[in-house]
């Protein structure tokens, strides 16, 4: 909390900037939902707003869509001011969480809606609708009513309805959260390839960090209305900026260590560290801790002995809880068979990532 990073994105994205959020704040009555948030979204990228419920991610999305007005700050898109436009004048389309398909219109009328109200020539519309439905593999259901479709099918129609308008930016508000696990995985894959194919900028909102990691070019992690970190999935995973990030994305061990004269000491663990002296919080991922055996291994590895307290087999991996002189560490190793008692473990000191909060 004390050294929370400012809600500013520290490095601009690669490529041209499409959308710029400048010092946005949003308050609902007494509650401050977004606090001085700034963010840039590159053209053609798949950016995910990740966070818990209440983190402000949906509010930010709605501000960009135009359903809410910022209390302070501005939003710019393509060099022009966006937040002063009503939603029906923005080149932004939304895929709603509950799909929001029009129940009194058929699937193809739903998809055609945006084209019709914008005055697209009537002769062009059928072809575009068919193409959009084909993109989401729903062309068979063109004349069906939404009430007859399953959740996954409705979701595809909602996607087609948004994409057919060729928006500059597509907003997706937790579109997969109502689907079951298998369908979800399938849709994730389809969304990703669709985005690649079309090159449209996607702004995706979710609370599921695995989903965010799988889909995004970059992840913007929100917490209590502020940006915790914005980076690519690999970057955010291997170099989390704060303990919150380290724990929200993936699992980790938090080690509070005293750094003195190049050595970090945390309980029974000591490893070389080139930081300045002081107390530092480190993040050490479970899969970075290996179980030592008699095979020759690099000597830079920091070793320690620990007693296995719990072992969970999850198919490809063992998840261990190891007691290292009072400190419980989570360790992840490839499938090994049942283990007992004390073992020797080790990790590369480079994997102990210092956190700034």
């Amino acid at each position: 909390m004390s050294s929370a990073p400012s809600s500013r994105e520290l490095t601009p994205p690669p490529g041209g900037v499409l959308l710029e959020v400048r010092n946005i704040a949003k308050r609902f009555g007494e509650r401050e939902v977004l606090k001085n948030l700034s963010l840039q979204i590159a053209s053609g990228e798949f950016l995910t707003l990740l966070g818990e419920s209440g983190s402000g991610k949906t509010t930010l999305l709605r501000l960009i869509a135009g359903f809410e007005q910022p209390t302070a700050g501005e939003i710019w898109m393509g060099g022009a001011r966006l937040d002063s436009l009503p939603p029906y004048k923005r080149r932004v389309n939304t895929v709603f969480q509950q799909y929001a398909l029009f129940p009194h219109l058929s699937v193809s009328d739903n998809v055609a809606y945006g084209l019709r109200v914008s005055g697209v020539r009537a002769s062009e519309i059928p072809a575009r609708v068919v193409a959009a439905l084909g993109m989401v593999k729903m062309h068979e259901y063109a004349e069906a009513r939404p009430s007859r479709l399953s959740g996954g099918q409705q979701q595809r129609v909602a996607l087609a309805r948004a994409l057919v308008n060729r928006p500059q930016l597509l907003l997706l508000d937790e579109p997969l959260s109502a689907l079951d696990a298998n369908l979800r995985k399938q849709m994730q894959s389809e969304l990703k390839s669709l985005q690649r194919e079309l090159g449209i900028t996607f702004l995706f909102v979710t609370h599921d960090q695995e989903e965010a990691m799988a889909l995004s070019d970059r992840i913007a992690l929100l917490r209590d209305g502020a940006l915790e970190q914005v980076a690519s999935p690999r970057e955010i995973y291997s170099r989390p900026a704060t303990s919150y990030t380290a724990q929200f994305i993936g699992q980790t061990n938090l080690l509070r260590a005293d750094v003195r004269e190049g050595i970090a000491t945390s309980g029974n663990l000591r490893w070389p560290c080139s930081l300045q002296s002081g107390t530092v919080l480190f993040s050490l991922r479970p899969e970075c801790i290996r179980m030592m055996n008699d095979n020759s291994l690099p000597t830079e590895v920091v070793r320690f002995r620990g007693r296995i307290q719990q072992q969970m087999f999850t198919g490809s991996v063992e998840q261990l809880e190891v007691d290292c002189s009072g400190k419980i560490l989570r360790v992840r190793i490839p499938a090994h068979g049942v283990l007992n008692g004390e073992h020797e473990f080790g990790f590369d000191p480079m994997d102990a990532v210092p956190l700034s909060g």
């Binding site: 419920s53 949906t58 969480q97 509950q98 937790e174």
Partner: protein, 277 residues
Amino acid sequence: MGFPMNAAITKPRSPLLAAFSLFVFAFLYLPIVVLVVYSFNQTGVGGFPPRHFTFHWYRQLFADGPIWDSVLNSLLVAFGAVVLSLTLGLLAALALDRANFPGKSLFRRLVLLPLVLPGIITGLSLLMFVNRIGTPLSLLTVFLGHGTALISVATTELFAGLQKMDRSQEEASLDLGATPLQTFWRITLPNLKLSLIASGLLIFTLSMDEIAVTFFLVGRENTLPLEIWARLRRGITPEINAISTFIFAVSVILILIWYRIRTRSIGKEAQELIERH
């Protein structure tokens, strides 16, 4: 995160729409306001502006024996109608909810018919009925008319209440050893408490105000609306304004209570709806 279905959208205000709505409200309330104002007017029911403020007409009202007799009659009929309609309405709602029998959809339509049919139809058909069986017109026939017409109100409200009820509560009760009767008494009825009170209030108010059906079934004893009607034939005096104001005040209080009760039971439902998202 879901989206509450009834959150008001903060859109650019439409002053034209607001003004029109104000006009409609004015239209709805104007006659009543006039009525109330002129009930305090010395010089009669018309003309403009009202001249002398007085309680005279209210004093006359309170001393008016026949009016209060008719109020008593109305009360008797209303209470009777409440008891009858609630009882039969509850049974009808239960039957619609739980039983299947031949002619069920016909039954449902019949029960709801008096709600949508003009009162004269219901009134006349019952008149012919009591005439055939030789019953003289009296408060009893009025009571019959009100009870029959207002069952539909009770049935509708109680049926909605039953549908909202969590069925597994009754199953749990039976599972724990209670008989159907005990279950009905201890579980079903308490769950319907709010619906019962709400419909009871509504039936009471409607019965007190009922005139179309009553018109054909009334005997020598008048109910309040019929008494007022009789007075109207004789001539208009502000005393009628006074009694109307009185009726208005009491109706408002009853309806506001009814509304509170109803939104209490719906309030819970809305909460669940929002939570589910």
